[in-house]
Each structure stands twice: as C-alpha cells, then as structure tokens.
C-alpha cells in the first residue's frame, strides 16, 4: 500500500437543501447555480478559485500523489435534488471507483453534507458507503465538508476521516482541502490509522450565530482547536448543520478523527458536545421588528446600517424575492431616504429592459418565487441602471451571473432587481449595479450571518430583521415535519444533549 506515487480517486458534489422553498432542483436549475465538471476540469477555474479541489491538487503535486479525477457538481442551495441528477452523479463516481479499484490507494471526496434528493436524505452517507463497498476496508477514504453538514452516523461509519470547515463565513476552503489531502497521504503511507468518533446533539440553531468571528461560535471553535492538541487526535470538526432542512437526522454533531483511538475520540466528541449544548441559549438570534429597525437606521449617526433579511438568505436556500423590507419602506418613504436592496424578479427585470433606461415604470416586484411567505408588491420608479448579470463576487472569489440587472429608483430607495438570485455574502451585487454600498444609509443583506465578514468592514450598525421566510431564524415558526424529536429549540425544555447524557452539570 505504500507506493511511491499513490493513486487517489477524487470526486464530489455540493448542494445545500432548503426544505421550505417550493420546487425541485433539476439539472437545469442546478446548471444555473454552477458547473458540473469531469476529469482534469475538477482542478480548473470553472468551479471557482482556491477551493478544496484546488488545494487537493496543490498538495497532491507537492507530495507526489497521482490524482484520478472523476466528477464534481457545484449546485448551490435550493430545494431537493431531482433523483435522476443524483443517480447520474452516483453512477459516474461508482463506475470510476470500480474501474480504478485495483490501483487505488485512497479516495478523497469533496462534499457539502446537506444534499438530499427526492428520496435520499443523506446523499453523502450514501456515496461514502457505496464507495466503501467497492474499495473495501483497507483503502482510506477522507471527505471534506461544509460547516453546515447534518452529520450522520452513516457518514461517520463509512469514512476514515471527515474534515470540515472551521470558519463561517467560510474562508478556509483551501485550508480544508489541504488538511484532508495531507491526512489521506499519511494514512496511505501507513503513518496513521484514522478513525472517526461521532457525537450527535439534540440541538439545531439558525445560521446567524454560526459566525466564527462573533458570538458563541468563537468559543466553540477555540475549544475544538484546544482539543485537537491532544496526542492521538488528528482532527476535530463541528458540524453546525444547515438549519432549514427537514430531514430526520437534523442537528449539530461533532466528529473527532483519531489515530485509532476510538475511546479518546468519543470522550473528546462528548466533551465538545456538552460545551456546545451548554451555550445553546446564546445561539438564539435577537431580531428587530421591521419598523423599529428602519427607524433605528434612519436615526443612526453612521452609515451604512446593514439590515439582514436573514429569513430570505439567498445562500441558504432563499429565492431572494422576499419584499417585506421594501414594502415597509414604501409604506412610509422619506425625502432623504438612501436605501439599496436587491430583489430577485426576472419578469420585472425584463419589463425594465423593455421600458428602457430612464423610463418611469410601475412593476409588481418580489414574492413570485416563494408564495408561501411573500406576495408581489407594486413598485413605481425610474429605471436608472440596466446591466448584464456578470460580475465577480469576493466571498468566495468567483464569477457570477444573475442573468440581468435593473435598478429602479423610488426617490432614494434603489431596488436592484436581478433575474437570478444574487449572493449577498458580500456587497458585490450592489457594486455591480452601480451602487457603492458605503454611500447608502440602509443596505439590505439577504444573508444570515455569512455577510458579516464582508459587510462589517464598512458598516456602522447591523440588525437582524424579524421577517418570516424559508430561512427564518426562529426555526419553530417553520413547518418542520420529519425531524427526529426531541430537538432543541423545538423542545425548549429538553435537558439532555443526547439520550443518556444526563442534564447539564449545575
């Protein structure tokens, strides 16, 4: 097994389920979000730059590892994946694994950990188990994951190591890929025998406080790093889970990879699990009612004031058509309003393009894609900017295309209409639309926390709006049906982090 140039199969897929938006993620829908690539293109620029796969390639080159790239799909966030899409991906990966089985020394899968299909809740556990069945118990399998993974027992049982992001907003794609590849190389060389210990918590929390720069996650990650210093422990990963997926195994988990020391791994996972559980109340999100937030922003001495419409997080599954902030502003506009907010509405963009630059328009905007939560409202204004949809985002650095942009100004309220939903992890959609976000008073971010890395650099104040939506931070307001109970905060009085754990120490 210790070949001088070991062979590693590389494959993966990334999609994040949001169960509260209608529809199915078909191949066509997914193609808008990102590419599916095969062969050497896995390591090229079409998926992005400096991501996990790029790190895998870089480290493999450094260590003399030969990579056998199979297939990778980047699908963004949305409703359940159409079964046939996953079937094709799965078949391709398993076919390549079967084909290369004789010469394989390791497997590296780059996954997200929150992809579900119409009939498979845990695609990642499924693919890991299926690959394991082909390569057998002696070929190490290492997988990378997003922090928003709903860690499952099947994932833990099927892989030799589960390596997750440590940052939110996620900025450590490359570091995660590099760590995984180095660990796999050590395992292939026989230097370590990685094994995963897992602890599942009866707890979930909205994404706002997954932020590793502020709030309770700072301490959680610090403790994880501290525990990682223990001899025998190779990696400590906290999966905070995508909160808006209605699947049985929803909930936080801790994955500890040790060098064959399962008991140490379990004790470590349990210790970190209890520490997270003890902080659970700190993960609740303080939300500000719309009217109060707008008044506070109008009175602020500094600008811009960022209003997070987190219930419509476009990178958390929201369609970006939530128009409640706009509706509140239009009910009571002020002469000195200075507002920028983005809204997904393809038909409205087309109407603006047809009306032409400088035209006065009356449009129905928003609410067309997520009717369970929003309905269209009337916007009258002037078309001040028309643009194509191409731009580069900053977090991550990535080419984007929202299909077309129109900016309609109603007094000082500038509505950036996009044909496809725009990521608001950073302000690049506004810059692209000709609005320098530093200049406006009220700046909307349809993001549940991820936006802070970029927006905090220039914002004067930040509030989370108390709006409903498919990414509502008050999870108990959403129509979950399939989750395993008990689960905090649905069962607010729950006193054990897992069955048999016993209540919090006094």
């Amino acid at each position: 097994m210790t070949r001088s140039h070991p062979n590693v199969l590389v494959a993966g897929f990334s999609h994040e389920l949001n169960s509260f938006i209608p529809g199915v993620s078909t191949a066509e829908v997914l193609a808008v979000a990102g590419p599916t690539v095969v062969g050497a293109d896995l390591f090229g620029p079409s998926v992005g730059i400096d991501l996990e796969l790029h790190a895998v390639a870089a480290v493999a080159a450094e260590l003399g590892v030969t990579l056998l790239p199979s297939i990778y799909m980047w699908g963004g966030v949305g409703p359940v994946i159409e079964d046939s899409v996953y079937d094709r991906l799965r078949q391709r990966i398993l076919h390549d694994a079967q084909l290369e089985r004789e010469r394989l020394d390791g497997v590296l899968l780059c996954l997200h950990g929150a992809m579900a299909t119409q009939s498979v809740d845990d695609t990642e556990g499924d693919i890991l188990a299926a690959v394991r069945a082909i390569v057998g118990p002696d070929v190490p399998i290492v997988a990378t994951f997003d922090m928003h993974t709903h860690g499952t027992a099947r994932m833990a049982a099927s892989a030799d190591a589960l390596i997750g992001y440590r940052t939110c907003p996620h900025t450590d794609y490359f570091a995660t890929g590099a760590r995984a590849m180095r660990l796999l190389a050590r395992a292939m060389a026989g230097e370590v025998r990685p094994t995963v210990s897992m602890r599942k918590l009866r707890m979930t929390a909205s994404a706002e406080h997954h932020d590793t720069n502020h709030g309770p996650m700072v301490e959680v990650q610090a403790l994880a790093r501290e525990l990682e210093g223990t001899p025998g422990i190779l990696d400590v990963t906290v999966f905070a889970t995508q909160p808006w997926m209605d699947v049985p195994e929803l909930g936080w988990s801790v994955m500890v990879t040790t060098d064959g020391q399962a008991a140490l791994g379990q004790a470590t996972a349990d210790r970190l699990g209890r520490a997270i559980w003890a902080r659970r109340e700190a993960f609740r999100v303080p939300k500000v009612p719309l009217h109060a937030a707008i008044e506070r922003a109008r009175a602020s001495s500094g600008i811009p004031v960022v209003l997070s419409d987190s219930a419509d997080t476009t990178t958390g599954g929201g369609n970006g058509d939530g128009n409640l902030l706009l509706a509140a502003l239009l009910r009571d506009p002020r002469p000195d309003d200075s507002v920028a907010l983005a809204l997904t509405d393809a038909a409205a963009v087309d109407e603006c393009m047809a009306a032409g630059i400088g035209a006065e328009v009356t449009l129905q905007v928003g609410g067309s894609l997520t009717p369970d939560f929003f309905s269209p409202i009337t916007l009258t204004g002037r078309v001040i900017t028309l643009a194509d949809g191409h731009y580069d985002s900053e977090l991550p650095v990535k080419p984007r295309d929202v299909g077309g942009i129109a900016v309609v100004a109603h007094g000082g309220i500038q509505v950036v209409l996009t044909r496809e939903k725009a990521s608001q992890l950073d302000a690049s959609i506004y810059r692209r639309a000709g609005i320098w976000p530093e200049r406006v008073r009220i700046l909307q971010a349809k993001s549940a926390g991820g936006f802070r890395a970029a927006f905090d650099r220039f914002s004067a104040d930040t509030m989370y709006l108390d709006t409903p939506g498919p990414c509502d931070s008050d999870l108990t307001r959403l129509p979950f049906e399939r989750i395993d109970r008990p689960l905090w905060p649905f069962d607010a009085d729950l006193d054990e982090p897992w069955a048999g754990a016993g209540p919090d120490p006094a």
Partner: protein, 504 residues
C-alpha cells in the same frame, strides 16, 4: 446685517466652437440639473457642496449675519456666451437683487474667465452692473477661481477680491466664508479694505498650475509668509490665468488686500509678481507624447497608470470626445484600459442595441474636428445608466451632483472598457465609475479628461499620473492656440519679453 449672495461662475474657452448658450445652462453637468438657480434653490443645490456658494451659506450662521441667496448661475466650461444668454441671466439676477434690497453688502461667486460676445471681460461687466444696483457705499466681496484672468477692472469694481488658492480647487468653500467675514468687518467699519493688482505679462501653462507642485507651491508659501509678517496686509491671491481665453486680460495676476493703506497692498502684490516673473521658465513645462504615454505599464503597483488628456481638458471647455489617446491605445493593441468619451451618438447606438448586445461603434472625434478622428471599436454593452451620480470625498471645485446623461459602458473586444456619455460630464470623481459598476483600480490604464480637476479623485488610486501632451483647444502649450487678442509681448509667446515690477 443683510448680505446678498449671487454670481455667474463660468470658465469660458474662447477656442471652443460650442457656445455656452441657453441650452448649456438648461442642464449643467456639474450641478446635476438646471444651471440657473434662483433664491432658495441656490442653497438647495450648492449649500452642501464644497463650492464658494456653500461658504456664503456657512456665513449665515455667523452672529448677526443674514445671507440672502439672490441667484447663482453656473454650468460646465464651454465656448463664448451669446450676448442674449448673458443678458438674460445677468438681468434676472440684478432685478432680484434690486427687489430684495436694500443690503449692507454683496457676496459674489465669479470665475474670472467668463467671456461674452461684446464683453471679453464679462466678470468685470457683471460686477460693474452689481455696483450700479447697490451703489458705491455698499461693500462688494468677490471670490474667483485660482485661474481666472483677473483684471484691474474686476478687482477695482469690487471692494474685496479673493481667489481660490488651490488647484485642484479644494478651498472654494473656505474662501467663500473668508470673503463674507471680511465684508462683514467692512460693513461694521472694523476694516477699510483697499486693493492692488499687478499683472505680469505671463501665461502659465496648465501643467505648471498644480498648487501642490513647484513653482506654485513655493510662491503660495511666500505669499502666506508675507501676510503673516506684514501688519495691515489682509490677503494675497495669486491668479494663475486661463490661457484658453483669447482676451487682453489673459494671464497671471497678483491681488493684494490691505486694511486702509494702499501702499501696503501695492508693495505686497509687486513682491509676489516679481517672484513669479523670476520663475517664468518654470511655468512652461512639457507633457509626455501620446506615443510614449500609451506604452506605459502599470507593472506590479497598487493602482493604474492614469493618463491625463491635457488637450481635451473638459474643465477648460473642451468637448470631451478627443480620440488621440484612444487611437494610440488601439494602435499599440493595449488591453485593460478604461476611457471615458462624450459621444451621444454612440450612446444612442448602445441604447438601441440593448444590454448584452454586440455593437460596432464609431467613437469620439465628432464635435469640432479639433480633437482627433472617430475610432472604430467593437464590443459588448455591459451597462446602461441614466448618468446621474453624486460625488463623495474631496472634489475639484466642490461639486456634488453630476449628470452625464444616458451613459453606456462597453466592454471592448480588446479587453478594455469605454464609458460613453451623452452629456459633457467632467471626469473628476471616481463615483462616476462606481455608479456604473466599474472599479477603476482594476484597470492597467485609466484615461481622465482633464489636468487638475481629476487629480483629487484619481491621485489616490494612481500608481502614476501622467500629463499627456495631446493636441486640442486645451493643449498644454499656449503657443499652439493662435491667440489674436492677448497682450504683446508676453511670455512664453515672446521668449525675450522684458518686464519688471519697477519698469512698468
């Protein structure tokens, strides 16, 4: 104490074939709307800018002062006014002044390089008419541009004359407030202002007019030091002159204001004028030839190389559609440049084609046959904008609201970006680009049409600012312009011109 605030502020390039007529005042690209403002409109549009007029408004908060906005007219630089345009604006202002009076003093915001058919020194004519309304006993304080063509008639038509003393102009508001303070002191009898002006026969090349660089930097320091050390000397202003006006008053000037003693003012003006004359050769530098400039590389620096199109200096009244640099860039097959052109016809083509459409355009060189020939460019329409933008930060002249008219951004097949505007909006704020979704820092080369006016905005992002020696009606070398009405002899036209403060 009631002070009237008013003025007609215009920089007239008499070499421009495009008259500053009623249409030009209909829509001021540097005010973002109508150029003729009446009453409270003046405060609404200019009260929060960095302009002279904003300084007048600041003065209203001084104890015991009421400042009444009578009227203010301004628009982007252009050619000579038709007489009717001037008469309409001037008469309107004077009638309002008479109707709103009486006043204890008048605050004027002029430029000093306004030219009207029949009035080569139109600022002096307007001041004369204001005096006619208010009479000889009411102090008139006048603030003009650093590079007005400041004349004895202008200076002696008023009681107090202050010029902006920065170029790029960033002290306009301060000077507005300063003149208001002095007028108030004069009204109260605390000072008796007397003025002197000396005009050395010298036309300063625009490239030598940056007040942060020599020779102006040292001369201004000398003037400041003279004020501080001379009892009774209230102010000295150095006028750089506006070489793009073919009028007898074209050239440099020194204006001094003293309290009571005309000899103090006279001596101060002569001292500084003498120092200017000593350095006259430093006022005649050269720019970089186009062929050389278009080959400059950004290299591994923090920002783009910014090419300043001296011959198409929109702040000096050019059409903004020069193609000499564009032609050079295309010939050199440069990529990654960002260039702005005033070309309404090309915008119409882009609007008709629509966002994302492929277009082939004939760009620039259309207005007057003096700024190059149209260049054929193919590309893709990336953005269309209504062209309005607000400028933030320090802006030359203190302007705030801009309007470029319908504006199109075209990504060229050669990997560069053209900004095409329908109105002649000056390139002096990065917010122009921001409003179009463009981050100029990402480009290798950025072309700005101006000499001084782009510098406050572009200086901080530029790895290098380059004066490009392009032909045109704002060419750096005044000898190329063919003046008919200037004084003779005059440096640098007559290189051996002799002059001294004592032999005038």
């Amino acid at each position: 104490m009631r002070l009237a605030a008013m003025g007609i502020l215009h920089e007239t390039n008499t070499f421009s074939p495009n008259p500053t007529d009623d249409d030009a005042f209909e829509h001021s690209t540097i005010g973002g709307g109508p150029g003729v403002l009446l009453g409270e409109q003046v405060w609404d549009v200019y009260g929060h800018t960095g302009n002279t007029v904003a300084g007048f408004r600041d003065a209203a908060s001084l104890p015991g002062l009421e400042v009444v906005p009578i009227a203010f007219a301004s628009t982007h630089p252009g050619g000579t006014f038709p007489a009717a345009t001037f008469e309409r604006i001037a008469t309107g202002q004077l009638e309002r002044l008479a109707a709103a009076g009486p006043f204890d003093g008048v605050l004027l915001a002029q430029h000093g390089a306004m030219v009207v058919e029949g009035f080569p020194d139109a600022d002096a004519e307007f001041i004369r008419r204001v005096r006619g309304v208010v009479g000889s006993s009411v102090p008139i304080g006048n603030v003009m541009d650093t590079h007005g063509n400041v004349s004895p008639a202008q200076v002696h038509g008023a009681d107090l004359t202050l010029l902006w003393q920065t170029n790029p102009h960033v002290d306009c508001r301060d000077r507005g407030l300063a003149v208001a303070r002095l007028v108030a002191q004069a009204v109260r009898g605390e000072i008796q202002p007397v003025q002197a002006i000396v005009n050395p026969p010298l036309a300063a090349n625009i490239l030598a007019q940056n007040t942060a660089d020599e020779p102006m930097r040292g001369l201004l320091a000398q003037a400041r030091s003279l004020i501080e050390t001379t009892p009774g000397l209230l102010d000295i202003s150095i006028g750089e002159g506006f070489p793009y006006a073919d009028v007898p008053t074209m050239g440099m000037a020194v204006v001094a204001v003293a309290d009571g003693d005309p000899a103090i003012a006279q001596r101060a003006a002569e001292t500084i004028a003498g120092a200017i004359w000593e350095q006259r050769h430093a006022f005649d530098p050269r720019g970089v030839p186009v062929a050389e400039a278009v080959l400059l590389e950004r290299g591994d620096t923090h920002g783009p190389v910014v090419l300043l199109d001296v011959g198409d200096n929109m702040g000096a009244g050019t059409p903004g559609d020069s193609t000499f640099i564009l032609e050079g860039l295309l010939a050199a097959r440069r990529t990654g440049f960002l260039l702005t052109v005033h070309d309404p016809a090309a915008v119409v083509t882009c609007v008709a084609a629509g966002v994302s459409a492929q277009v082939t355009l004939s760009v620039g060189g259309k207005f007057d046959g003096l700024h190059g020939t149209p260049q054929i460019v193919t590309g893709r329409v990336r953005i269309l904008s209504d062209g309005h933008f607000q400028a933030y930060g320090i802006v030359h002249g203190g302007h705030k609201a801009f309007d470029g008219g319908i504006t199109a951004v075209v990504d060229t097949a050669g990997g560069s970006t053209l900004v095409l505007t329908s109105l002649p909006v000056m390139t002096m704020s990065l917010d122009q680009h921001y409003s179009l979704g463009i981050d100029p820092v990402r480009y290798d080369l950025v072309v700005a049409k101006g000499v001084m006016s782009p510098q406050p905005a572009y200086g901080p992002i530029a790895s290098r600012l380059v004066y490009v020696d392009t032909p045109g009606i704002s060419t750096a070398d005044p000898r190329r312009l063919g003046h008919q009405h200037r004084r003779r002899p005059m440096f640098p036209f007559e290189q051996d011109t002799q002059w001294s403060v004592t032999t005038r």
